[in-house]
C-alpha cells in the first residue's frame, strides 16, 4: 500500500515542480532551493512528518525530503546537545547523501567522458 502512496505523493510533488517550471521563470536551481527550504519549515511545524508516515519514499525522495532530513536532524541534535546542535544537526543528518553525491560524481568524472552536445 505504501508503494501506491509513494507513487501518488512523489508524483504530485513533481507535478508542483513542473507547474513552477512552466508557469514561472524559476530555474531548476531555484526550484531545488525552494523545495529544500520548504521541506525544512514544513517539518519544523510538523506538517511533513505525516506525509512521510503515509508515503515513505514518496515524501523522502523528492528534495523536500532532503529538507525534512535537515530539519529532523537539527531538532534531534537540539534535544541532545542544546545550542550546539543548532549548528551540527542539519548537516550531520544529511552527510551521507552529500558525501555520496560528491564522491560518486568525482569518480564519474574520472570514468566518463562528456557527450558532445548536438
Amino acid at each position: 500500500m505504501t508503494y501506491l502512496w509513494a507513487f501518488i505523493v512523489g508524483g504530485i510533488l513533481c507535478v508542483i515542480g513542473q507547474i513552477l517550471i512552466d508557469k514561472t521563470k524559476l530555474t531548476p536551481a531555484r526550484i531545488l532551493v525552494v523545495y529544500v527550504v520548504a521541506g525544512v519549515f514544513l517539518t519544523l511545524v510538523g506538517a511533513y512528518e505525516p506525509l512521510v508516515k503515509l508515503a515513505g519514499a514518496g515524501a523522502t525522495v523528492p528534495l523536500t525530503g532532503f529538507g525534512y532530513s535537515l530539519a529532523k536532524g537539527v531538532m534531534k541534535a537540539v534535544e541532545e546537545h542544546g545550542l550546539l546542535g543548532v549548528l551540527t544537526g542539519g548537516l550531520t543528518a544529511t552527510a551521507g547523501g552529500i558525501a555520496a553525491a560528491v564522491v560518486f560524481s568525482l569518480i564519474a568524472a574520472l570514468i566518463f567522458k562528456s557527450k558532445e552536445k548536438s
Partner: protein, 143 residues
C-alpha cells in the same frame, strides 16, 4: 522585421507548451522514481537497519543510481521528457552534481570538476543549511 515584431511573431508561431502533458509525464516518472526509492527502503528495512540508517542508506543508493545513470548518459535523456519528474527527486540532485563534474572535466580537476559540481548543489546546500540553523534556533527556544 523589427525586434519587437519578431518577438510577437515567434510567440505566435511557437507551440503552446503542453502543460497538461508535461504535468502527466512529471507525475508518472517522478512517481516511479519514488516507487523505486520505496523498494530500496523496504530492502534496507528487511535487512534489519534502524530507521535512521535506512534513511541514509536509501539516500546514498538513490544518489548512486542518479550519478550512474548520468554518467552513462541515460538520465539526461529521460530528463528531456520528464522535466520536474527527474529534477525534484534526489536523483535529480545527484544529476545536478555529476553532470557539470563530467562536463567541466576539460577545465581541470580543481576549478573544473571540483568547483563546477556545486553549481546547483551549492545553493541547495547553502540555503538548506541556513534554513536548518534557523529552524534549529526556533526549535531551541520553543522546545
Amino acid at each position: 522585421m523589427q525586434k519587437q515584431e519578431y518577438k510577437a511573431y515567434a510567440e505566435k508561431k511557437s507551440p503552446n507548451s503542453p502543460l497538461w502533458l508535461n504535468m502527466l509525464k512529471a507525475f508518472l516518472i517522478g512517481g516511479l522514481i519514488c516507487v523505486l526509492g520505496e523498494g530500496v527502503r523496504h530492502f534496507y528495512t528487511n535487512w534489519g537497519l534502524s530507521l535512521e540508517e535506512v534513511a541514509a542508506a536509501t539516500s546514498i543508493t538513490m544518489v548512486f543510481l542518479g550519478v550512474l545513470l548520468t554518467g552513462i548518459g541515460i538520465y539526461d535523456n529521460i530528463a528531456k521528457h520528464a522535466g520536474a519528474g527527474t529534477l525534484v527527486p534526489i536523483t535529480g540532485f545527484a544529476n545536478s552534481v555529476a553532470s557539470p563534474a563530467i562536463e567541466y572535466k576539460s577545465e581541470g580537476y580543481v576549478l573544473g570538476v571540483g568547483a563546477k559540481m556545486f553549481i546547483i548543489a551549492g545553493p541547495v546546500i547553502v540555503y538548506g543549511t541556513v534554513a536548518s540553523v534557523i529552524a534549529g534556533l526556533i526549535y531551541y527556544f520553543i522546545h
